[in-house]
């Protein structure tokens, strides 16, 4: 039996890696997740045959109930959620994984605490395993509570970025105290259950404190970081339980997540430390407020429609505003109308447009737009000078030319989409305010820019109506 269990874990590890590999290409991606899914089901089933599990029938019943509850809730929420709300759902499912890793460590530590009064008899872990259990618990707990905050922020439950006075200092002290408690637990032969409790409370509070000051615009990077952290926590608990499948899967996710986090913060041209320890609006958002030449010039939907209908090449720049307004289906309709008139339409996607890298692509694909029309920053920027119209829908910071021109701006140096270089630029925007980062956008004041005010869905609707009338 033991060999059988190990063989299944081994195959699972292979299926996971092959699955991830297949997921890296759009053609094979769906197959990839199915392979990984098969591995997961197989590994979960054989886990019931691990030594000790079937000894307590009551526990087996509880396991089945717990799986039913957890997967039931997750299945219904994942099926029902809007595509636009996917990022926060990933955050919450990831947080659950972190919480599970922390809970596994908690059980192990409680077992040690409970058995220490019977010398030589109790539950025993090697010092390495004990220390890794504690580290995994720390990381998992931070990922759990941090992901919950990330969810609340993206879901709009928690709108303000809360910063306490001396926030950094409090965080540092709290983290240091958590580490001390963790070290005491990790190296002691006589684990105190009160200390374990205190340790978990501090780790959870730290996760909250760590995440609250980070602005909503930076949440994708944070979610990606928590994803990597959960992977690590799982790997560490895998060592504690001597489960190679957990070590491999956890570590693969840990390193893949770390790379993804790096790619994202690179796209924002900000070091990860800057994202995590300084919130966007607060450090020099005022610098850009000074003198802006020109004024915002409004345009009516019908005029904008004519402009686009008679263009040769239109580049659409979607942003979070499009996602919020659920305008992707209207955008797809607009695209088809324009193409029917012989207009070349392409989409320019900034790496951090929306709430996650690739978020816009998912939405556009949902609306039935071919992904070969969807271009990356490097591919599309040379196209802007020859574009007749750049249509910006609910994007802001990613098209702000200040990032190229003003060294004082907090977003200076961030690669942007050069929508301002297009012959004409139409910006669909809900109101006159500045974007998520609170930085004024010079593009809106440029001579070749016209503002089309309104909710993304309504404004694109006007454009469609305008083109149909021609």
């Amino acid at each position: 039996m033991d060999i059988f269990i190990q063989v299944v874990y081994f195959i699972t590890a292979i299926l996971f890696i092959l699955g991830l590999k297949k997921m890296s290409s759009p053609v094979t991606a769906t197959g990839g997740i199915v392979w990984a899914g098969i591995g997961m089901v197989a590994a979960s089933l054989v886990a019931f045959f691990e030594p000790g599990v079937f000894e307590h029938t009551g526990n087996v019943v509880l396991i089945v109930v717990a799986i039913a509850v957890g997967s039931g809730i997750a299945y219904t929420t994942a099926k029902r959620v809007q595509m636009t709300d996917m990022p926060q759902m990933i955050a919450i499912y990831n947080g659950m994984g972190g919480g599970a890793a922390a809970a596994i460590a908690a059980v192990e530590l409680v077992k040690m605490a409970g058995s220490s009064d019977v010398p030589g008899m109790g539950h025993h872990l090697s010092t390495t395993a004990q220390v890794l259990a504690v580290i995994g618990a720390l990381i998992g707990a931070i990922s759990f509570s941090g992901s919950a905050i990330a969810f609340a922020k993206l879901q709009g439950i928690m709108k303000k970025t809360i910063r306490l006075p001396m926030h950094m200092m409090i965080n540092l002290i709290l983290f240091a105290l958590t580490l001390v408690a963790g070290a005491i637990i990790g190296f002691s032969d006589d684990v105190s259950i009160q200390l374990v409790l205190l340790f978990f409370v501090m780790a959870l509070v730290f996760g909250v404190m760590f995440t609250t000051p980070i602005g909503g615009a930076d949440m994708p990077v944070v979610i990606s970081l928590f994803n990597a952290l959960t992977g690590l926590a799982v790997a560490f608990e895998g060592y504690v339980l001597e489960n190679a499948a957990m070590i491999i899967a956890g570590t693969v996710v840990g390193s893949a997540g770390t790379l993804l986090t790096q790619l994202m913060s690179k796209a924002m041209n900000r070091p990860i430390s800057n994202i995590l320890f300084a919130s966007f609006g607060s450090d020099g958002g005022d610098a850009a407020e000074e003198d802006i030449e020109g004024s915002m010039k409004e345009i009516q939907g019908t005029d904008a429609a004519i402009m686009m209908a008679f263009a040769e090449k239109v580049i659409i720049v979607p942003g979070y505003g499009m996602a919020v307004a659920q305008a992707q289906h209207k955008v797809s309709e607009l695209t088809k109308l324009l193409e029917a008139r012989g207009v070349k339409v392409m989409f320019a996607i900034h790496p951090v447009a929306g709430r996650m890298p690739g978020h816009m692509n998912v939405l556009l694909a949902e609306a039935g737009i071919d992904y070969d029309k969807i271009l990356d920053l490097d591919e599309v920027n040379p196209e802007f000078p020859t574009a007749d119209v750049a249509l910006v829908i609910g994007a802001n910071d990613v098209v702000n030319p200040v990032a190229r021109s003003n060294p004082d701006s907090p977003i200076y140096g961030m690669p942007i989409l050069d929508a301002d270089i297009a012959k004409n630029c139409i910006v669909i925007k809900r109101g006159k305010g500045s974007g998520f980062s609170g930085i004024e956008n010079h593009l809106f004041y440029a001579d070749n820019t016209r503002m089309l005010y309104g909710d993304g869905q309504k404004a694109v609707g006007e454009l469609i109506a305008g083109i149909k009338e021609l």
Partner: protein, 100 residues
């Protein structure tokens, strides 16, 4: 149970880390969100650990925490799977015609 000693674990850890790095470094930007969701599903393997730990739970406290561990882990795995499949379906040309 196979023994995974300190250095064996370290080797597994090192090789897995390089594997994860290599696998994701060739992913096009359009697949980053599904990929994040997919890797999120992969660490749902924590369910295996949760089952093992819960199975060996003895006191009521251990059972309560174990129950939480299994429920959370199952949520991670199932939620991660469904979310990833839904996102990847968007890239499937067959479905696109039906929606448009």
């Amino acid at each position: 149970m196979i023994e995974i000693g300190g250095f064996t674990a370290l080797y597994i850890f090192m090789l897995s880390a390089f594997t994860g790095y290599e696998v994701i470094s060739r992913v096009p930007v359009i697949l980053h969100t599904p990929m994040m969701s997919g890797s999120n599903f992969i660490h749902g393997i924590v369910l295996v650990g949760a089952i093992v730990v819960m199975g060996g739970a003895e006191s009521t406290l251990e059972q309560v925490i174990g129950f939480i561990a299994v429920a959370l882990a199952a949520g991670n795995a199932v939620g991660g799977y469904v979310a990833t499949v839904r996102m990847l379906e968007m890239f499937n040309p067959k479905d696109k015609k039906g929606e448009a």
